[in-house]
Every structure is written in structure tokens, then in C-alpha cells.
């Protein structure tokens, strides 16, 4: 029992950190551009698929972990500059547009990559003893990498010029324009970062889950839940909410069927939406 609980706990932490990265990307784009990016899950999936190809060619997971997000970031630039720029001030229209983009990405992958799921082998195959069970070391490494990325993001937002600009635009867009901040550039960088984060978590998740063209669909909904529970535009809130929800789901699934655990998580979210639309941790 204790070892099952320990494994469930570790899994929940690892998955919570991956979900936090995804939700951070979604939330940054929302907080700045007020766009609900329905294609975010598809970008996560695209990251994993591109990584699969890169690993086929180079045989190296770590190259894929760096290159796949760069590739997806490029897709993000195309999305933002080519498609969304002209409708950025209409939230409902952008939802429909990104829904269309989600379809396009999913179906393109289905055409090229095929419909059957594939696996990416963990680059670190070692397992360590955890009470009576074995636990893959790779997952711990994934957790550490996620934390490092979050710390890096925090520094980027707090200590660099672009980070300062981003926060300024979130606070007051008109004022930011007035002070000479290149708002369009900031938008583009936010979108690049958000897309890259989605793809990065896709690559990190790939050795844990299987890679297929629909893998982003459920993740998108989970990311929504996290962003709403943590508060839209509240990045710290997203990280806490991601780990919290992942814990409730993971540990809850030991005692009740996972479907019921998910239904409770969703019902909880409806309550949050109705009574605290600013999120649990907002003021």
C-alpha cells in the first residue's frame, strides 16, 4: 500500500509539473492577448510528433527536446502573425479560428504521421527502488527539467527587458503603447514562448504517454481547468493548481474509478467558474 501510494504521489507530481508547463503557455497567451488558444493541445501534440521524427533521424532524445519546441515556435509565429493578428481584439472569433487551426494541425499529423499511436523510449532507462516497487529515473529527471524551465521563465519575466514589457502590456496596454513598448513584438514573443512551452511539455510527456494525433485533446481541457482554477492571467496560480489537481486525480484514482475522479474535478471546476471566476488564488 505504502509503495502504491508513493508511486501515485510521484506520478502525480511529475504529471502535475508537465501540466503546469502546458497551462503556463496557455495562460501567458491568455493573460496578454486575451486569446483562448484552442490549438494549444494540438501544439503540445505536434511537439511530441516532431520529436518522434527527430529521434528516428538522430537517435537522440535531448536534441529533440531542444529542436522540436523551436519548430513548433515557428508554427506559433505563423499562427500569430499570419492568422490571429487581425482578429486579436475579438475573443469569440479567435476561439473559433484557433479551433479551426486545431483541426488543421490534428488532421495534418493524421495524414503524415498516421493514426496509430507510437512510443518514444525513455533516454534514461534506469529504475530505482521505491519501497517494494521500481520507479523510472527518467520521470524524476522530467520533473527536475520542468522545475528548471519554470525557474528560467520566472527569471525571464522578472529580470529581462522583454519580461518587463510583457508585464507592462498585461497591466495596461494603452499606457504601454504610449511609453513606446513595441506591443506587437511582445505579442509575438509571448506566442512563441507559449507554443514552445506546449511543445516542450509534449516532448517531456512523450516517454510517459503514447504519441498520437489525438493526444492533445484531453490535455487541452485539463489545461483549461488548471488555468481557470489557478486564475486567468495568474501564472503562479497555474503552477499550484496544476500540481493540486494532478494530486487529487492521481491519489483519488487509487480509491475511486478514474472516470469518476475526473467528473468530480470537472464539477469542482464548474463551482470555481461560478463562484470564483477570478480563480482560487486571485484576490
Amino acid at each position: 500500500m505504502i509503495s502504491n501510494l508513493a508511486v501515485a504521489f510521484l506520478n502525480a507530481v511529475v504529471w502535475g509539473l508537465i501540466m503546469a508547463l502546458i497551462a503556463l503557455g496557455l495562460n501567458m497567451i491568455f493573460g496578454l492577448l486575451h486569446i483562448i488558444n484552442m490549438a494549444h493541445g494540438a501544439l503540445y501534440m505536434l511537439g511530441a510528433v516532431v520529436a518522434w521524427y527527430l529521434i528516428e533521424f538522430t537517435g537522440n532524445f535531448w536534441i529533440a527536446l531542444v529542436v522540436a519546441p523551436l519548430f513548433v515556435a515557428l508554427v506559433g509565429i505563423l499562427m500569430e502573425k499570419g492568422l490571429l493578428r487581425s482578429i486579436e481584439d475579438k475573443p469569440i472569433t479567435t476561439i473559433i479560428c484557433t479551433f479551426g487551426i486545431m483541426l488543421v494541425i490534428q488532421q495534418l499529423v493524421l495524414t503524415i504521421f498516421g493514426g496509430s499511436p507510437r512510443r518514444i523510449a525513455a533516454p534514461i532507462p534506469y529504475r530505482f527502488q521505491l519501497f517494494q516497487l521500481q520507479y523510472p529515473l527518467m520521470r524524476v529527471v522530467v520533473a527536475i527539467i520542468s522545475i528548471l524551465v519554470m525557474v528560467g521563465l520566472w527569471f525571464f519575466l522578472r529580470k529581462t527587458k522583454y519580461g518587463l514589457w510583457m508585464r507592462a502590456v498585461v497591466q495596461d496596454r494603452e499606457m504601454a503603447v504610449g511609453l513606446g513598448i513595441p506591443v506587437n513584438k511582445v505579442y509575438m514573443w509571448t506566442f512563441i514562448l507559449g507554443s514552445a512551452l506546449a511543445a516542450f511539455s509534449g516532448v517531456l510527456a512523450a516517454p510517459i504517454v503514447s504519441v498520437d494525433f489525438m493526444m492533445g485533446r484531453e490535455v487541452l481541457i485539463m489545461a483549461f481547468i488548471i488555468v481557470i482554477v489557478g486564475g486567468m492571467g495568474n501564472l503562479e496560480g497555474s503552477v499550484i493548481a496544476a500540481i493540486m489537481i494532478s494530486m487529487i486525480q492521481g491519489i483519488g484514482a487509487l480509491f475511486v474509478p478514474p472516470a469518476i475522479a475526473t467528473v468530480f474535478a470537472l464539477a469542482f471546476m464548474i463551482i470555481v467558474l461560478l463562484f470564483r471566476p477570478q480563480g482560487l488564488f486571485g484576490e
Binding site: 483562448i36 492568422l83 487581425s86 482578429i87 475573443p91 469569440i92 472569433t93 476561439i95 473559433i96 479560428c97 479551433f99 479551426g100 487551426i101 486545431m102 483541426l103 488543421v104 490534428q106 488532421q107 495534418l108 493524421l110 495524414t111 493514426g115 485533446r217 481541457i221 483549461f224 481547468i225 481557470i228 474509478p257 472516470a259 469518476i260 475526473t262 467528473v263 470537472l266 464539477a267 471546476m269 464548474i270 467558474l273 461560478l274 471566476p277
Partner: protein, 322 residues
């Protein structure tokens, strides 16, 4: 006044003409295309009911799949497991989704904008998970098959196992629903819906209970989505949990955007064009939704008022130059 009469005369003319074509069509096409058209009618009904809440009232609901799936399951389960007759099952496929849409709507209309979109997705997702999990009742992702017993409707004997009979039955109900919705959006009630879409605060300041009117629109759309689901199951003799998935609502979104929202005629046109396109593409492309997605993105960016909007602006330009 006179202008309005002229407009509605033109509408009656075009409507009867289209209806006449569809009544005559089964004598010239084979059973495969009759089934295809029957499915098209069902999706048209789903799309125009979505147009009422999105196009007219301004509420983007991705939760309509819940009511579609509920309608489809209501028909299937009440015929298969309760042994009810077909006409009663179909009536229930309006009532039961309406009850659920009252529940969902009661909470959802308290929110607006993006929050509304997300809460409707969540409700549909809960329905989908329950449908997938409760396999003893719903058949899960394998679904349930059944065969609807024939019944009498006034002078007509309706046998839905006969493809042509099914075609006319669905056509009649969809045409009636269209007329019902058209009447509704032109009534004072419909004007309130439009005023909410245009400016919610102003509608509230004038003294309308905005949430109540949103709920009314949501109820009617929910009932008609349920009817669409019920007819879909009667056509395919099948229901599955995947009908409850929120992405099914995407169909209605695509048809409405491509055809032109807030026009009723738009979703009809959109469904016809997109479904024909898909039907044609399926011969040499596995991923037909790829083209659907491209069309959707293109229309949102280039012609947000859809095909109907494009045609209208063309006509206006002609009038202006004449």
C-alpha cells in the same frame, strides 16, 4: 410594411421551391444519396438550432453536443429498453434534452464571453465521460443498435426502416423546425435575442431580464439539438457515447460560420457545402477535416459573415451601382 410583405413572399417562394426539389429528388437518386441527404437534413437542424444561440443571441456554446447525444440516446433507449413507440420516443428526445439544457443553462448563462464557452465544454465533457463509463446503460463507445417500429401519423404510415420513408420524415420535421425558428427570430422575442447579442448592457438597461432570455434561447436550442440527435439515431439506428463529445458541437460551429451566422439560411448553406465537400474529398483523402479546418479558418478571417454575408454585400453593391 409593404417591403416586409414582399420579403416574406419571396421567402415563401424560395422555400417552397427548395422543398419541392427535395421532395422530388428521391425519385432520381439512389439509396446511398438518399441516406446522405437525410444525414444532411439532421446536421442542418443541429446547425440552425446552434445559430439561434450563437448567431442570434451571441452565446458560443460548445455544449450542444450534450443535447444532441442526449436526444440520440433518448430515442435509442426508449425504443430498445423501454419498448416505447417511435413517435413518443421522438417527442421525449425533445423534452429530455430540454430539461437538461434548463439545468446546464441555469448555471451557464450566469457567465459570459470565454467563461461561457468553457463551462459549456465542461458540461458536455461530463456527459461524455458518463456515457463512456456507464456502459451497461449506454453501450459506451461501442454504442447501441436498435430498429424503430413503424407507426401511423394521421393519414400516413411511417416506416423508418425504409430509407425513402425515413428521408421524407426527417425532411418534414427539419422543414417545420426551420419555419418555427424563422418565425421565432422575427418575433419580438427574437428581437430581444438580437439586442442581447448586439449590446448586452443596453438590453439590460432597457429593462430586459437578460439571463432569462438567454436561458429561453438555450432551452429552445437544446430541445431542437435533441430532436436532431433523435432523428440522427433514427436514421442510423444507432447511438454511441461519442455523440456526446464536445467536438461534435464543432460541426454546428463550422456550418454556421461558413454559411453565415445569424441568418438561419447560412447554416443550411454551410452544412450543404461543407458536407458535400467532405463527401467528395473522402475518395482521396483520409483526413477530410483538414479541408474543413482550412475552410473554417479562411472564412473566419476573410468573410466573418459567411457565404450569406458575401452574397448580400455583392447584391448591395449591385444595387448601389445601378
Amino acid at each position: 410594411m409593404f417591403l416586409h410583405k414582399g420579403k416574406s413572399f419571396g421567402f415563401i417562394l424560395i422555400f417552397s421551391l427548395i422543398l419541392f426539389i427535395f421532395i422530388a429528388l428521391p425519385f432520381f437518386i439512389d439509396l446511398f444519396y438518399q441516406t446522405f441527404l437525410t444525414e444532411l437534413f439532421v446536421w442542418i437542424l443541429f446547425a440552425i438550432s446552434f445559430d439561434l444561440i450563437f448567431g442570434y443571441t451571441g452565446l458560443l456554446s460548445f455544449g450542444q453536443a450534450l443535447f444532441f447525444g442526449l436526444g440520440s440516446y433518448t430515442v435509442t433507449i426508449s425504443i430498445l429498453k423501454m419498448g416505447l413507440n417511435t413517435e413518443l420516443a421522438l417527442l421525449l428526445s425533445i423534452i429530455i434534452p430540454m430539461i437538461f439544457s434548463w439545468f446546464v443553462g441555469y448555471f451557464s448563462v450566469k457567465l459570459s464571453g470565454i467563461h461561457f464557452v468553457i463551462i459549456t465544454i465542461i458540461f458536455a465533457l461530463i456527459g461524455n465521460i458518463i456515457g463512456e463509463t456507464w456502459t451497461a446503460f449506454t453501450g459506451g463507445s461501442d454504442g447501441l443498435t436498435f430498429s424503430p417500429p413503424p407507426f401511423r401519423l394521421g393519414l400516413f404510415k411511417v416506416n423508418l426502416i425504409d430509407i425513402k420513408g425515413n428521408y421524407y420524415f426527417v425532411l418534414a420535421l427539419v422543414a417545420l423546425s426551420y419555419l418555427f425558428l424563422r418565425r421565432m427570430v422575427q418575433s419580438p422575442l427574437g428581437k430581444v435575442f438580437i439586442s442581447i447579442r448586439e449590446n448586452e448592457d443596453r438590453a439590460r438597461l432597457i429593462g430586459y431580464n437578460v439571463q432569462r432570455y438567454k436561458l429561453i434561447a438555450f432551452l429552445i436550442a437544446g430541445g431542437l439539438s435533441g430532436l436532431a440527435g433523435g432523428l440522427y439515431s433514427l436514421t442510423l439506428k444507432y447511438a454511441a457515447a461519442s455523440y456526446l463529445h464536445w467536438s461534435i458541437s464543432g460541426h454546428a460551429v463550422v456550418y454556421t460560420i461558413v454559411g453565415g451566422m445569424g441568418t438561419l439560411m447560412g447554416p443550411v448553406l454551410g452544412a450543404g457545402i461543407v458536407m458535400s465537400l467532405e463527401h467528395y474529398l473522402v475518395n482521396f483523402l483520409q483526413a477530410t477535416d483538414l479541408v474543413v479546418g482550412i475552410v473554417l479558418v479562411f472564412m473566419v478571417l476573410m468573410a466573418p459573415k459567411g457565404l450569406v454575408g458575401l452574397i448580400q454585400s455583392k447584391l448591395k453593391r449591385k444595387e448601389a451601382s445601378a
